[in-house]
Amino acid sequence: MTAIISRVLTSAALLLWGTVLTWFYFSGKVQSYLHPTFQIYTAISGILLVLMASIVLIFGFPECCNEENCVHTHGKLTAGRIFALFILVVPLFVAATVSPDQFGGTTVTNRGVIDNIAQLPGAKKTQLAQMAYTEPPLPGEDTTSKQAQTPPEAGDAYLQKNGKGQIVLQTIDLLYAADEPSMRKDFGGKEIEIIGQYMPAKVKNPTGKNFNLIRLYVMCCAADARPVAVTIEAPKAEKLTEMSWVKVTGKVTFQHQGDRFTPIVVANSVTPCDAPEDKFLY
């Protein structure tokens, strides 16, 4: 009887793990946790664990390690086994249920914000990288329509713009721009639209209207996320929830602070918005 109970409990533990992994993948939740490279492994592991759970439930514990040398507990329902199953099941269940799929302000404050691109080696330029390299047209390619849309500035051809003609940027783009004289010239005074997460500015905020616009930069998973921030000078003091998503439109300025330039967006509007499909920067 205990062997059957143990078999069912073990199978249930494997099934829970498999279900959580497959659920996170197929519901898209995994995008809030892992770099795209690692996401598919979650689905594969989840499916394998569900298969393993089914086999154990239907056929019992297969013989392993050769009987004489085996150290596994198999069907024995010991106190240690029950405790192990508890540890395997309860924390996973609680965390999967409670996890808000994003960090709150506490962790971002603990990690400290990055407002200087030199603190973020390995970061890839997003749109600015495309600006820096102009793809030559393919032989025979019709460039007429492209030219018709191209504003006078060469770089603008590769910048995404919203319906109002404002350049759509990421926080990391502005950090790169601050470090490059030619990009500072290109962006300085331009109208932009930028989306990120709201965090109150606890320093360099004499008027009380400034806040940090955060995006998390991720290498592998959320546990290694680094908050990349741009200072926003809002028209009025905002009372928003920490790490809530906001869309900011305004003008880019670069202020000389110490031995470097810092990007500051003088905002025209700050409006709450939905989280983008991809919450992280990679």
């Binding site: 690692f38 395997l88 603190q119 320093v203």
Partner: protein
């Protein structure tokens, strides 16, 4: 200046970090346990002993470099190591492979190089591989002189010391090398079933420690205010020791830790090297995972030993002025 507490805990953030560590690590752990099952059923006993040089010194040196051919991450290596030990790999060689493989492998070499572009990438990558290899091999030589009863968990020790029933040799030789064949018998289906049995049981065994390790890592990963480490950056010995502590707390994957280390621009390069060498060999998560195969006292001793040796080596390297 706002004075912040060194520790601020938020349960939701903890759950989020805990889940992300699990989601990233479990696939690799599952891969390790499946490999463990296949090794158990399909790798002939003493196969590893046969392919390694007979000379124990040469065997340890070679084991430390096996990661360049058989790369594994630190999360998945323990079930594989446990199985290889039971299949005849000497404990010292297993230790050299286990400690070196998260660092001495091509994936980590490339990620380190990419992360440190513009900051002496080639030097950092080369030093990381060399120091990682040297430390792993040194640890293996020390472990080679320790009786394996002080190293392995009793059940694993019993498994490799069990007297064989089929007229083979005495169970363990001077290197802790078992001589009992444990190869699976029967049809392919039976052996695949056996491999599955091993994989399921190994997964549950190691996952138990991984869950505990991931929760401890998530508490520190989200709760510790990292600004408190910054003032240590100007003192090389303190910087080295504090970054090693940070590596243990953050419990990062060795394929990504270089990208974090590269952002610590205020810290000297030797401190980053210590971070990159110590973290993949020993962190909060690994302390628990190692306990699936090794005695707790041994794991604690190993942690202290690695900490001291890596700190000394990295501090001695400060003359390189990287």
């Amino acid at each position: 200046m706002i004075a912040a507490a060194w520790f601020n805990f938020n349960f939701n953030d903890f759950c989020y970090a805990f889940m992300s560590i699990l989601l990233e690590g479990i696939p690799f752990m599952l891969l390790g346990t499946i490999l463990s099952g296949l090794i158990d059923q399909f790798l002939p006993a003493r196969f590893m002993a046969k392919i390694l040089p007979k000379n124990p010194v040469a065997a340890i040196f070679l084991s430390g470099a096996l990661g360049m051919i058989f790369p594994m991450c630190e999360c998945g290596i323990v079930p594989v190591i446990r199985r290889l030990i039971s299949k005849g790999l000497p404990v010292s060689c297993a230790m050299a492979y286990m400690l070196a493989v998260p660092i001495v492998n091509p994936i980590v070499a490339v990620s380190t190089y990419m992360a440190f572009r513009g900051q002496g990438a080639m030097e950092m990558m080369t030093l990381r591989l060399i120091v990682g290899y040297i430390v792993a091999v040194l640890a293996a030589f020390v472990i080679n002189r320790i009786p394996i009863r002080h190293v392995l968990r009793p059940e694993l020790l019993a498994q490799i010391q069990k007297k064989p029933t089929n007229n083979s040799e005495i169970a363990v030789d001077a290197l802790g090398m078992p001589k009992s064949p444990t190869l699976g018998k029967g049809s392919m289906i039976t052996r695949l079933g056996g491999a599955l049995g091993v994989a399921v049981n190994d997964f549950l065994d190691v996952c138990f420690y991984f869950v505990i390790g991931a929760s401890v890592a998530a508490v520190f990963n989200t709760g510790v205010n990292q600004d408190f480490l910054a003032p240590l950056a100007n003192n090389p010995p303190l910087a080295t020791v504090s970054l090693m502590g940070l590596a243990a707390i953050l419990s990062l994957c060795s394929t990504s830790d270089a990208f974090i280390a590269a952002t610590l621009i205020n810290f000297p390069a030797v401190a980053k090297l210590a971070f990159l060498t110590f973290g993949p060999m020993m962190d909060l998560k690994l302390i628990f995972i190692y306990s699936a195969a090794f005695k707790k006292r041994f794991v604690l001793g190993l942690a202290i030993g690695l900490f001291v040796v890596i700190a000394i080596i990295c501090m001695r390297l400060s003359f390189l002025q990287l």
